[in-house]
């Protein structure tokens, strides 16, 4: 058993940013464990540009954005291992990993969970019909095209207007496929407006809101789908069914934090974010186990993933320096106007950044953070969308440790 100060699980954007930041803060006895052959995570297959506008003030592709961090990891000589799968993290921070070289065990003072997320699949949204080939999640289609040089199909229907689905609509079109339409069950798009514009409108690909796939046809290969309009409760409206012949159905229906290890360690999860419950230090319900990036909450921009991971690294250092691993007891609760908040708890002793997502699109709204009738923070927004995360600064000096924080969007 080897002792490490910090074991970082996952070498994607969150893990890389956390490692570089920890190292610069003087915490050097660290190790990144990555399952794939290369560092970089999902960015390796995100070849479109638009990454890094906030951080580097230039528009990079995913692989370039990742490489900036990989270069830093190499320059600083930060230890990492690839083709290593972590099989268990215990509440006592014992990390077990396997590779072709065998089984490894580490005892860590802190564990940084940066495993990212997974895509929701056909099973997760229970689409009826047969089970032919040709039904892919958007990320799988993206890896086929951008990593393996395999074209998923020619006549394409896309279900879900998540950003990866929109990006794939453009990518498939440019490669000669015919993308017939994108269907979204919600009455508003779930991807960013700029992606609707440059991935759909530019190529005259129609987007139908409040529509879903109600049947899948075909035996060995997909032959077509039936699409119907839905009512406010997302129930298909009889009589609105339309048939679309296609050999490919791409699903872009949401992302869920990767929770296998978190569950194994016994972490408390949040049913709304689907990730771990954390305090303002990004510390989970388990002392010394931290989480950041898409494993904590699904982000819309990688730039924010990097920033979150760096904040987590800073918190880990502060915990090491003070030998105090916070015991957050002040609850942060949201009302029906907001889908979730991160963190979900705070010690009330540190300023922090609160991240949240509105439940519905809105204009000229204000987020209020209150303790009973006292407003401790507020921020105005000209426009809010469920597709865009909102962040605001919470000053610790205004927090009353006896009362919970209540958040509302009006």
């Amino acid at each position: 058993m080897e002792n490490k100060d910090v074991i970082i699980i996952g070498g994607g954007p969150a893990g890389l940013a956390a490692a570089v930041q920890l190292y610069k803060l003087g915490i050097t006895n660290i190790l990144i464990l990555e399952r794939e052959k290369h560092l970089g995570g999902i960015l390796r297959q995100c070849i479109h540009d638009g990454f890094g506008l906030q951080r580097f003030c230039e528009s990079l592709s995913g692989p370039e954005y990742a490489q900036r961090f990989i270069d830093e990891v190499r320059e600083l000589n930060i230890p990492y291992m690839t083709e290593v799968t972590v099989t268990e993290v215990t509440a006592g921070r014992k990390v077990t990993a396997i590779s072709r070289r065998g089984v490894m065990e580490f005892q860590a003072k802190a564990v940084a969970l940066t495993m990212g997320c997974r895509e929701r699949t056909r099973g997760a949204i229970s689409i009826p019909g047969t089970r032919p080939a040709g039904v892919y999640t958007a990320g799988v289609a993206q890896s086929y095209m951008n990593l393996a040089n395999i074209m998923p199909g020619q006549e394409v229907v896309i279900l879900g207007s998540g950003d990866i689905g929109l990006i794939m609509a453009r990518r498939l079109t440019l490669e000669g496929a015919h993308v017939k339409a994108v269907f979204e069950v919600q009455p508003y798009p779930s991807g960013l407006p700029r992606n609707i514009e440059q991935c759909l409108n530019d190529y005259e690909i129609p987007l139908f809101l409040s529509h879903t796939v109600v049947d899948v046809k075909g035996h060995s290969r997909l032959e077509g789908v039936t699409v119907a309009q839905v009512d406010e409760q997302y129930r298909p409206i009889p009589g609105t069914e339309q048939e679309y012949n296609c050999d490919t159905l791409i699903l872009s229906v949401g992302l869920i934090p990767e929770n296998e290890l978190s569950l194994g360690a016994g972490l408390t999860l949040d049913s709304r974010t689907k990730g771990a419950v954390v305090d303002e230090d990004y510390q989970t319900s388990c002392t010394g186990i931290f989480a950041a990036g898409n494993v904590l909450q699904v982000h819309d921009l990688v730039d924010f993933v990097s920033i979150e991971a760096e904040r987590m690294a800073l918190s880990i250092q502060e915990c090491f320096l003070s030998s105090q691993f916070g015991n957050a007891e002040i609850e942060i609760v949201v009302d029906a106007s907001i889908s979730y908040s991160v963190p979900q708890k705070t010690t009330g002793k540190k300023d922090f950044t609160l991240s949240l997502r509105p439940k519905r699109p809105g204009r000229n709204c204000t987020v209020f953070v209150k303790q009973e009738n006292v407003t401790i923070a507020r921020k105005k927004f000209a426009k809010v969308l469920p597709a865009e995360m909102i962040q605001l600064a919470i000053p610790a000096e205004r927090i009353d440790p006896e009362k919970k924080l209540e958040i509302t969007l009006i």
Partner: protein, 121 residues
């Protein structure tokens, strides 16, 4: 005539409303920065876009290297850019920043590699 635009320059994606007369922008509201105005002006005269794709790599640990245009090209030439990109075969190793194809389809823009691909050992 009033026309709605969504700015694609950055992830904020401002919703903008332009008043247009004889294909000239008379007024613009909704943009948070000066780039929005430039974008609408460009959309009126000659819409331009950058795209990313991949080119084949021979002898590499991966079959493809991702590439992108180093500057935007007229929207109308995007499929010509794709056709040219399909003909490119690079020899591994391939490095980020390497030019895969100069002056693609006469647009004046280059296709630049965005992923390191090492040679197979």
């Amino acid at each position: 005539m009033r026309r709605e635009y969504t700015c694609i320059i950055c992830p904020i994606g401002c919703d903008m409303t332009a008043e247009i007369e004889d294909n000239e922008m008379v007024s613009l509201v909704g943009n948070n920065c000066a780039k929005g105005r430039v974008y609408v002006q460009q959309e009126l005269t000659n819409p331009i876009r950058t795209i990313a794709t991949s080119v084949l790599v021979k002898g590499g640990e991966l079959p493809l290297a991702s590439v992108r245009l180093n500057k935007p090209v007229p929207k109308a030439s995007l499929f010509k850019v794709m056709a040219e990109a399909k003909k490119v075969i690079l020899l591994a190793p391939v490095r980020i920043g390497q030019v895969a194809l100069q002056n693609v389809a006469g647009t004046g823009a280059d296709l630049v590699v965005t992923k390191h691909v090492d040679a197979i050992h």
